[in-house]
């Protein structure tokens, strides 16, 4: 390597590096100046595990989309923080006619869309009528308007619902209300692909506490800015940013580093790691859902009633299924399979919905008691054979029960592996078969299974969950093929029962029926781990209160009411008056490291180029 070449390189490289560094430094010093004068905006950074799939409230299905619609839009009726019972939203009050066939909602005045137009009863009626008219709107929200025949807005402050028969699920109406003056141009055909995203830098028109200014369905980040004129009062954040983390470990690391302020959907193990970390609070909140072991109670063609599939006949006997409930150790499933992230379950309505949940009395409630399971099986005729295996009442072997687990879910596989051992303990052979959930869906519809593990999410009104267990849902959403006319009769009755206390009794009776017939053995109630920078943000309220989750609630309560530490909004945590430092834009480190990377790449390219030239020169 000649000296001249070296010198040339050094000169080139260093001047280039200097130029880049100067540019970078110039930008660094310039950027704070742009903000100068006013205090930095309060940005709340949320890390989520999944993308929003559509900002069009008629199309999306992911929980993330629902969360973001709640920031963009209001609902006529919302849910209370305490127990998710119906609570005034855009409607300040409502009343029902005596026969339950007419509902009158009184709408607040003075609410405005973000483009300044007033939000009136007409917008609400328009939204609901779109759903009533069918199409993708009906596919998404149709179930909430069951028996509703007509929706009108006789004046700007009144919405009238006319029903063909009483519907006890009302006033549960969680649909986001959309502006008629924008959506009237989006017809039935266009709505199928209408993205409802910001265009030309204009935010999406809504009435909610925040406005979507940046982000696209399936994207990796979403940016919302505050609606300063929000009718429930200005939120304490100036901006809410969502970032998608496809990897749970990096989500935790980003929280620890302070790149985000809130981490949603962590694992119970993450909570253990974060507990005791100063400045971070991790909570395990009740998530209103359950996981169950479901049985093939007798698959049959829903129209003809002809049996289909190859389910084990023993599982068609409710006594056999109920007995198995004593062979399962739910506490062990919670601690070993769910790592403590949840609680032992009993019925299909989670206890967070305290008014509807039926608690099995101690004489019938399940507890881990293989002996009792054995006794119950003996009584029902499933005697222990000489080979240590139980037989059918007619003496024939039971055979091997096929326990299907969903391969993508470790808890599903873990639960079934334990269940297999517990079945062996009481003299029943079983094997675990693992498959992808799409495959399992087909297997369930064909009735070619004995048991599987899955779960459901339960809405604040248990009506739809209860409906999945009716005879009419066989071949649709019923996966245990359970069919009990007495249960169906109760389901129909509770659906139109307008007296709340009577309805609650009926709902409890239905849970009791299911518990004793045991098409499902509910193993666990869900838990959701969330963590946030308590050194920066405070004033979060759980839903249900106490014991619930902090974000991904029904509604946008905490986005409006949570606040930076030290802002004096709520008194509790303000003693630790650390200033809320959430810088927007990119950090100094980004500039320096980014510049170094660029310099390195350019220098490398340069060296290569020079070497080529030098060699050519030498050869000549």
């Amino acid at each position: 390597m000649s000296t001249s070449r070296l010198t040339r390189c050094v000169t080139w490289c260093s001047s280039l590096a200097l130029a880049t560094a100067a540019a970078a430094l110039g930008a660094v010093t310039a950027s704070p100046a742009a903000n100068g004068g006013q205090s930095a905006p309060v940005v709340f950074h949320v890390g989520i595990g999944n993308e929003a799939d559509s900002f069009n409230p008629f199309l999306g299905i992911e929980a993330e989309s629902y969360e973001m619609w709640a920031l963009m839009y209001d609902q006529m009726i919302t849910y209370s923080m305490k127990d998710m019972s119906p609570q005034p939203g855009l409607a300040s009050s409502w009343d029902t006619s005596n026969n339950g066939l007419t509902w009158t909602f009184h709408i607040r005045s003075g609410v405005k869309w973000s483009d300044g137009q007033p939000l009136t009863a007409a917008d609400i009626a328009y939204t609901y009528n779109r759903i009533l008219d069918g199409g993708p709107e009906a596919a998404t929200w149709g179930s909430y308007l069951k028996s509703v025949t007509k929706i009108t807005a006789p004046d700007p402050e009144t919405v009238l619902l006319t029903l063909s028969k009483p519907n006890a699920v009302l006033p549960l109406l969680p649909m986001p209300i959309i502006p008629e003056h924008i959506w009237k141009n989006i017809d039935e055909d266009k709505v199928k692909s209408y993205p409802n995203e910001p265009q030309n830098g204009q935010p999406v028109v809504g009435s909610g506490p925040f406005r979507l200014v940046q982000g696209t369905a399936g994207g990796s980040s979403y940016r919302f800015v505050v609606n300063p004129d929000y009718w429930q009062g200005r939120p304490n954040f100036d901006e809410v940013d969502f970032t998608v983390f496809k990897n749970g470990d990096t989500l935790v690391q980003a929280l620890e580093k302070g790149e985000i302020d809130f981490a949603e959907g962590l694992s119970p193990l993450d909570k253990r790691a974060l507990d005791g970390r100063s400045g971070i609070t991790a909570i395990l909140g009740d998530s209103p859902g359950f996981d169950e072991i479901a049985f093939n109670t007798g698959a049959a063609d829903p129209k003809t009633g002809k049996p289909i599939g190859d389910g084990n006949p023993a599982l068609q006997d409710p006594k056999f299924r109920y007995a198995l409930g004593f062979a399962i150790n739910n506490d062990q499933i919670v601690s070993k399979v769910y790592q403590g992230g949840g609680s032992a379950g009993d019925t299909i309505v989670p206890p967070s919905y305290s008014q509807y949940h039926w608690t099995p009395p101690s004489d019938v409630a399940f507890s881990y008691d293989p002996q009792r399971a054995g006794q119950l099986l003996e009584q029902a005729g499933y005697k222990m054979g000489s080979n240590g295996l139980r037989t059918m009442p007619d003496g024939s072997p039971i055979g091997t029960l096929r326990l299907m687990a969903r391969g993508e879910s470790p808890t599903s596989v873990g639960t079934m592996q334990y269940f297999k051992e517990w079945l062996n303990n009481i003299g029943i052979n079983a094997e675990v078969q693992t498959m992808e959930s799409g495959k399992l869906t087909n297997v369930i519809l064909d009735g070619n299974f004995d048991a599987f593990q899955w779960g459901w999410y339960v809405e604040p009104d248990p009506d739809s969950m209860l409906s999945y267990m009716t005879c009419g849902q066989r071949g649709n959403w019923s996966d245990s093929w359970y069919c009990n006319p007495a249960y169906d009769k109760l389901y129909t009755a509770q659906h139109s029962e307008m007296d709340q206390a009577t309805r609650e009794d009926m709902v409890k009776q239905m849970q009791q029926m299911l518990f004793m017939d045991a098409p499902y053995l509910v193993t666990t109630y869900g838990g959701n781990v969330e963590a946030y920078r308590s050194d920066r943000f405070t004033c979060f309220t759980p839903q249900p209160n106490p014991g619930g989750v902090l974000l991904f609630q029904y509604g946008a309560y905490n986005y409006v009411h949570a606040a930076p530490v030290g802002s004096g909004v709520c008194s509790s945590a303000d003693a630790t008056a650390a200033s809320a430092s959430s810088s927007s834009g990119i950090s100094m480190v980004a500039w320096v490291v980014g510049a170094v990377v660029v310099v390195a790449v350019l220098a490398g390219a340069l060296v290569l180029a020079l070497r080529r030239r030098a060699t050519a020169g030498q050869r000549a």
Binding site: G142, S193, T250, G438, G594
Partner: protein
């Protein structure tokens, strides 16, 4: 990565038959192009049926725990166009493909072409940069290593190459993350843990480009380390093959310096297999690096495709797979044509 190498071997194995053909350059090019077009058409048809054989019903996956009545289910089925007969759906698929829109994704309800374009950028930057870097570094390392066969430099590079090659990419990524993004002991967390760019920063400004370089440093390093051995090992072995040749003796006898013998004579002749490999691998650049895109949450095509599988999102899967196969077929064609150019024995 192993798939890539196999493809390279397959193409190499095809070469002797080509050698026997007569007819010169034009026919060679023509036959290659025709073959590629045929392959593309086969993929077009195969693609449609491939995903419909997958277990699972998109309507049931998308509707679970959300839809209640069978009327709602029917509405969704109709919205997705799945209420139509299979032949009719196939015709729709062909129409959508030839209009370039590829239909609407079931999950995102947006044109598939738009989704692919959105995700193509990050993938090209990530995998493309890593491929270029690993090619350059790999060839150089392989060359030095072969030239110094048996010496410490060879041992170190071969062994570290093998270790990196056999290490799962995502694990390497997580290690780098833990050390350089989170910080470990005296090492501060220099890089962001996640994503492509800071939310709210304009990608097309100087600040945006620097921010992106900062975000992509770790993932690119991870992929480069993972890919480098593939090139260095192939380069090493092909250079070793050349090293016993007489022309090198001649070159040395002419009095050329060692470095020139290596670079101007040996390396050029040893580059042939590596060139094929590079050309073929370029076809795989667009299909992304699923594990690394997941670890670093980079919204690339690999991630998009994996997620589409869980629905299964037929239009999106058809679109991405057609795109991937087109890229591989084109790269293959390019490799074949390039080979013909570089090694005249092939086309005569």
């Amino acid at each position: 990565m192993s798939v890539r190498t196999e493809v390279a071997e397959v193409t190499a194995a095809v070469q002797p038959t080509e050698r026997r053909r007569r007819g010169g350059r034009g026919r060679y090019v023509l036959s290659k192009v025709a073959g590629s077009v045929g392959a593309l058409f086969f993929m077009l048809v195969f693609n449609f049926f491939l995903f419909r054989v997958l277990p699972g019903d998109p309507v049931r996956t998308l509707g679970r725990n959300r839809l209640v009545s069978d009327k709602q289910v029917a509405e969704l089925r109709q919205t997705l166009g799945l209420d139509q007969s299979l032949p009719r759906q196939f015709v729709t698929y062909l129409e959508n493909t030839f209009t370039g829109q590829f239909g609407l994704s079931f999950r995102y309800r947006q044109p598939v072409s738009g989704l692919i374009l959105d995700r193509l950028g990050p993938t090209l930057v990530l995998v493309g940069t890593a491929t270029v870097l690993s090619t350059v570094i790999g060839i150089y390392v392989g060359m030095v290593s072969a030239w110094n066969r048996g010496r410490p430099v060879d041992n170190v590079s071969t062994w570290s190459g093998l270790v990196l090659y056999s290490m799962p990419e995502w694990w390497l990524g997580l290690l780098l993350l833990a050390v350089f993004a989170v910080g470990l002991g005296p090492v501060p967390g220099l890089f962001p843990v996640n994503g492509l760019i800071t939310t709210g920063v304009d990608m097309w400004s100087v600040a945006g480009l620097l921010d992106m370089a900062w975000h992509l440093t770790l993932p690119v390093i991870t992929l480069t380390l993972a890919y480098v051995a593939e090139y260095s090992l192939i380069m090493r072995s092909s250079l070793l093959d050349e090293m016993g040749e007489d022309y090198l003796l001649t070159a040395r006898a002419k009095g050329l310096r060692d470095i020139h013998v290596r670079r101007r004579h040996a390396a050029r002749n040893a580059l042939l297999p590596t060139t094929t490999l590079v050309a073929l691998n370029l076809g795989f650049v667009v299909s992304g690096a699923i594990t690394i895109e997941t670890v670093f949450s980079i919204p690339g095509l690999g991630l998009l495709t994996t997620e589409a599988l869980s629905v299964p999102d037929y239009p999106l899967l058809q679109g991405t797979f057609l795109f991937f196969s087109a890229a591989v077929i084109v790269a293959n064609l390019a490799a074949n044509l390039l080979y013909g150019l570089l090694d005249p024995r092939v086309r005569t």
